[in-house]
């Protein structure tokens, strides 16, 4: 089942103002940078973006924030982005902050047909406001619901023509769950290979979750905190 589209332009066809997008990545690691650049070009507005972080001021989702294309962010951590903080504190940007594990699990649940589940994370905090609480094993848990998106955009290391994906190291992060939760899932990959080249034992995201796949033109893969030791 060939899922290959020619380029990022073709891959993002159908994304419209007001839609909900999921975007993979943790910090700047494993983000779909080609697709984000294309979203800037398209100028799509009033987006709801579900993404663990919001990039930095001049890279990743920060680029969409600069252009005021995002109406609402659903994230767990946004500490590296001054423009984000400004828009949020000024009320220009709606923000729904979610514990990271709940965010991951809610995306997985959305993809897996689990509409809701109980988790201890956030009990007794702002996050639990208005949510149902139940005691399990003597501990309070809150009921969290599934997340889905009109489009999920993920970035993989290698992908094949059938949409099977493999991620590298910690660039995997949210990508596999978001791939499951998109009504349409778009994968940008560093290497696009023919079906049969990836070992079926070691596929991270089976192609059934991916509707469109393309080879990203350029990956800058910016490092947020270059930390080294001396030889």
């Amino acid at each position: 089942m060939n899922k290959v589209v020619k380029n990022v332009e073709e891959a993002l066809v159908g994304i419209e103002d007001g839609m909900t997008l999921m975007l993979g990545g943790f910090g700047l690691c494993g983000i779909p940078e080609n697709s984000i650049a294309q979203l800037v070009k398209m100028g799509t507005k009033n987006l709801t973006c579900i993404s663990n972080n919001a990039g930095v001021d001049d890279f990743g989702l920060g680029l969409l924030l600069q252009q005021k294309q995002i109406k609402k962010m659903i994230s767990s951590y946004v500490g590296e982005n001054a423009e984000f903080e400004r828009q949020m504190l000024s009320g220009e940007l709606e923000v729904d902050l979610i514990p990271q594990g709940s965010l991951a699990e809610r995306c997985r649940a959305g993809g897996a047909g689990i509409p809701a589940f109980f988790t201890p994370a956030g009990y007794g905090t702002e996050v639990a406001e208005g949510k149902e609480v139940r005691i399990y094993n003597g501990k309070p848990h809150i009921l969290e619901s599934a997340l889905t998106a009109d489009f999920a955009i993920v970035k993989a290391w290698k992908g094949d023509t059938e949409g099977n994906l493999v991620f590298k190291a910690t660039a995997r992060n949210f990508n596999p769950m978001m791939a499951m939760a998109g009504k349409i899932t778009i994968a940008e990959v560093e290497e696009l290979v023919p079906a049969g080249e990836l070992d079926p034992n070691y596929i991270h995201t089976p192609g059934i979750f991916v509707q469109r796949i393309f080879k990203g033109e350029k990956f800058e893969k910016r490092i947020e905190q270059r930390t080294v030791r001396q030889k």
Partner: protein, 218 residues
């Protein structure tokens, strides 16, 4: 003399036990990895999706695809494993991680912790902290005893939005090691040269002080 960040990290490192899987938060907790006591083996989990974190990479060997939860470039040890965020928090929520060390802006005497938001001023988000504190059996907080204005952060009740309730078991500051139980702080050790009186002065929460408070051995 009050400890520096390295001192706090060294003291926390003494809490490590052989065979533990450990999650270290951003900041001082990250430093703990540098002071693993001899003869014990621990594995570090980072919630962005790696088990078996190693040292920072040599210059020129950084890999943008290999970072820790603080977004720092890292390396991995032999026997490491990568996984997605759902799996990572399955480990955390499922209590497969034996120790969590994280920073805090405030801690209260019933074990509440606040570290993600100052209303109207600063909102970084909770990241994985809420999952970690809600799930971990064993949480140590690394923090400063007071803020720059000299106001205690070891409180009867937290004033900032909470990250978790009744979860902190132990606090290590530049001045002291304290356990939390029975809705009180219990002074266990003091930093070298720091007096009990100095600690009491900077502790707003109820503090139980035994007759003898040993100095930390670092």
């Amino acid at each position: 003399m009050a400890l520096d960040k390295i001192g706090i990290a060294k003291r926390i490192a003494q809490e490590l036990r052989d065979g533990w899987y450990v999650n270290l938060g951003i900041g001082i907790p990250t430093l703990v990895a540098n002071y693993i006591p001899e003869g014990i083996e621990v594995e570090f989990q980072s919630e962005n999706g790696v088990l078996g974190m190693g040292a920072f990479p040599f210059e020129g060997e950084e890999d943008a695809d290999l970072i820790n939860a603080g977004k720092q470039t890292i390396t991995v040890r032999e026997g490491a494993a990568f996984f997605d965020s759902a799996m990572s928090f399955a480990m955390i929520r499922g209590q497969h991680v034996q120790l969590t060390v994280l920073g805090a802006m405030e801690v209260s005497q019933n074990g509440d912790i606040a570290n993600w938001k100052i209303p109207g001023k600063m909102v970084k988000g909770m990241g994985g902290a809420m999952d970690l504190v809600a799930s971990a059996e064993n949480i140590i907080v690394a923090m400063m005893h007071s803020n720059k204005a000299g106001e205690s952060k070891i409180l009867k009740e937290c004033t900032l939005p909470l990250t978790g309730v009744g979860c902190v078991k132990k606090v290590v500051t530049e001045l002291a090691v304290m356990e939390i139980k029975d809705n009180k702080f219990h002074l266990i050790e003091r930093a070298p040269g720091v007096t009990v009186e100095e600690i009491i002065a900077l502790t707003e929460g109820d503090l139980v002080v035994p007759d003898f408070v040993p100095e930390m051995v670092l």
